[in-house]
């Protein structure tokens, strides 16, 4: 059990001028499940590998607990890692795979076997202990990789997209298993994923990265309800938030023909802002009214809900709009609808910096 601290940690790959991870400052509490999320190339895996000691730290420091591990080799960091491709040792049986770290650490055979069996029991792997990895299914291999990490009772679990090679159904199952397992064991976990659904469902807190720069850290709810900038707003949530530029007018911001009340002093001297509305935060009306006029292109039915995909003219540009509608009664493709945001659910961002304009929304 330990905390993890990134203190201005940077990684610049040789032959590149741009930092893959740029002055990362991040604190992970003891026993916390932190998810690093971002699109590919955002530096999330690099950040994890820096913590593992597989990637050099060019500047700054990394601490596990009180210990500065910046220059400590991986084998001395007391961490366990689950890899995307599981990285099982193909020539060893499941039991040997799980016990390898203990064998290196010089744990006596009796205790080793016992700990391997305990972990195998926890993961339903007992019947497979004598098999080689190639005789296992993808889900079983994934569990062996988890088991290899659990057996060691390390200070920190590192997981690098451990679910991305599983099929959709198994992924959802395993997602909850991993989250509950790590909470039960109370081990600090740093989990990397590109899938924002995974991040939202698993993490105690989420850290969003983009181009090596940390965008925002917070609980899933904070990130969803209060995104700090346009990137986080667009990245968290599925389908993504509707984001478009809108003109500032008397008393607020234009939303089609409607005006959303926004306090003047938060807007400053800006004449335009980026506004964001989540698909579930709009009201769709078939009758002509104020709001944004949207041509419906397609409606996806998902049973209880449906998603309406359409486009509109905003500021002379075609803008795609997504809105959640009822799964049974909804407009159809070709219809024209008028959408207005629900009050209190409009996010306002600066056009220049993309930063959230604090307290911009008036109920």
């Amino acid at each position: 059990m330990a905390t993890v601290t990134y203190d201005n940690a940077s990684r610049i790959y040789p032959g590149s001028n741009i930092a893959a991870v740029d002055s990362l400052n991040l604190d992970v509490a003891d026993g916390e499940f932190l998810v690093l999320v971002g699109p590919s190339g955002s530096g999330k895996s690099t950040a994890l590998r820096m913590l593992a000691g597989l990637e050099e730290v060019n500047s700054g420091n990394i601490f596990i607990g009180e210990r500065n591990v910046t220059d400590v080799p991986p084998k001395d960091r007391d961490i366990a890692m689950v890899f995307q491709n599981y990285a099982l040792y193909p020539h060893m049986t499941v039991a040997e795979n799980m016990g390898f770290a203990l064998r290196i650490a010089g744990v006596p055979k009796e205790e080793r076997n016992q700990r391997v069996r305990e972990a195998a029991k926890m993961l339903d792997l007992e019947p497979y202990l004598d098999r080689k990895p190639k005789a296992l299914s993808g889900g079983q291999r994934q569990r062996v990789a988890m088991g290899r990490a659990i057996v060691r009772s390390p200070q920190v679990f590192l997981m690098d997209e451990p679910l991305s090679n599983l099929d959709a159904k198994l992924r959802v199952q395993t997602r909850t298993q991993i989250a509950s397992l790590t909470r039960r064991l109370g081990v600090t976990t740093v989990y990397v994923t590109h899938d924002q659904t995974e991040a939202l469902t698993m993490g105690d807190r989420i850290a969003v990265l983009k181009d090596g720069v940390l965008q925002q850290v917070g609980t899933p709810r904070e990130l969803y309800a209060d995104p700090k900038n346009v990137f986080v707003a667009g990245f968290i949530g599925s389908p993504a938030m509707n984001l478009f530029t809108a003109d500032v007018t008397e008393g607020g911001v234009k939303f089609g023909t409607a005006v959303i009340p926004v306090e003047r002093d938060t807007l400053g001297s800006a004449t335009q802002v980026t506004i964001g509305v989540r698909p579930e935060d709009v009201v769709v009306s078939l009758t002509e009214s104020t709001g944004l006029k949207v041509e419906v292109d397609l409606v996806e039915e998902l049973g209880a809900d449906g998603y309406l995909y359409g486009h509109s003219e905003v500021d002379g540009k075609r803008t795609d709009i997504v809105a959640r509608v009822d799964g049974r009664i909804h407009p159809n493709a070709g219809d024209t609808v008028y959408i207005t945001p629900k009050t209190g659910h409009v996010h306002v961002f600066s056009v220049e910096t993309g930063e959230r304009l604090g307290g911009a929304v008036v109920d």
Binding site: G53, M81, F83, Y86, A87, P90, F100, P133
Partner: protein
């Protein structure tokens, strides 16, 4: 040494058929199968004839080359083994080839591993030197080798021959294993480091076992090359008590002049070839086995 070239062809025939077997085109497959059958016949028939003749007397061989033996002359083997000294040559060969093989596989694997997976100044230079060693004809090295071994007191000794064999086989071993180690997945190595393994343990307990298919194929090639090696021992190992099999067979055939005991000669040939076949069959099974069976996809 017809038998020597024969067994080389024999051992490479199944390797080719595996490759063509994966091709999808039926026409190509049938043509290649016909060619392979013809080739197999060309290779196997002379070998069978040698085996058959090894059980006949010289007179029988000269009179009826293709008949079955009247009496199965097992004494040909006894004669070749003891009187012609094949037994001693056999032992010499086994010692030299086994030692050289162990050393070259160990050194070659370590060298290839480091060159393939670690970045350091001079890495490319060393690799290209190894490649240069591969292109360098052994004939050009014979005279300098002779003097080096003589000056270091290793001429006409088995250790001297072992050392020469190691140097002779190392470039190919490194070259072949280099690409093999390059292709091994990084994350398994990283998993070993995180599990607490140092570089040595990661190499010997994780990476080397994973490279087993590559090691097996290189070991076979090296074994064939060294077992059949003729030029190097002829030049560097001229003491008759330390002859290897190839030298022994050559002197057996040439010393007797016109009164060659063909039955015993063929028995000697069979005894020279059999170990090669046995080794190939044993190792050939190990060649199969996927590199990436532990990782997904």
């Amino acid at each position: 040494m017809t038998a020597v070239t024969t067994d080389k062809a024999l051992s490479s025939a199944p390797a080719r058929s595996r490759v063509s077997g994966s091709g999808g085109d039926a026409a190509v497959a049938s043509v290649s199968h016909v060619l392979l059958v013809i080739w197999s016949i060309v290779v196997i028939v002379p070998f069978l004839w040698v085996i058959l003749s090894s059980f006949k007397t010289t007179k029988e061989i000269l009179a009826n080359p293709f008949s079955l033996p009247a009496h199965w002359q097992f004494e040909n083997y006894a004669h070749a083994w003891t009187d012609a000294g094949i037994g001693r040559y056999f032992l010499n060969t086994v010692i030299v080839v086994a030692c050289a093989l162990v050393i070259v596989m160990l050194l070659g694997a370590m060298c290839a591993y480091v060159l393939a997976r670690f970045q350091f100044p001079g890495n490319r230079a060393i690799y290209y030197l190894m490649l240069a060693g591969l292109t360098f004809p052994v004939f050009l090295a014979i005279v300098p080798l002779f003097f080096i071994l003589r000056n270091s007191g290793l001429l006409n000794t088995l250790p001297g021959l072992i050392l020469t064999y190691v140097a002779f086989a190392l470039p190919f071993t490194v070259f072949f294993l280099y690409s093999f180690f390059k292709s091994l997945p990084d994350d398994v190595y990283e998993a070993a480091l995180i599990d607490g393994a140092g570089e040595w343990r990661a190499f010997f307990q994780v990476m080397l076992p994973m490279a087993q298919p590559g090691m097996a194929s290189v070991a076979i090639f090296n074994f064939l090359g060294l077992w059949n090696q003729f030029l190097l021992p002829v030049a560097l190992n001229t003491d008759e008590s330390r002859y290897v099999l190839t030298q022994g067979m050559a002197s057996f055939a040439s010393q007797a002049g016109y009164s060659v005991d063909f039955g015993a000669l063929f028995a000697g040939v069979v005894m020279t070839v059999i170990p090669v076949l046995v080794i190939y069959i044993i190792f050939q099974r190990r060649l199969e086995g996927s590199v990436s069976s532990g990782t997904f996809r």
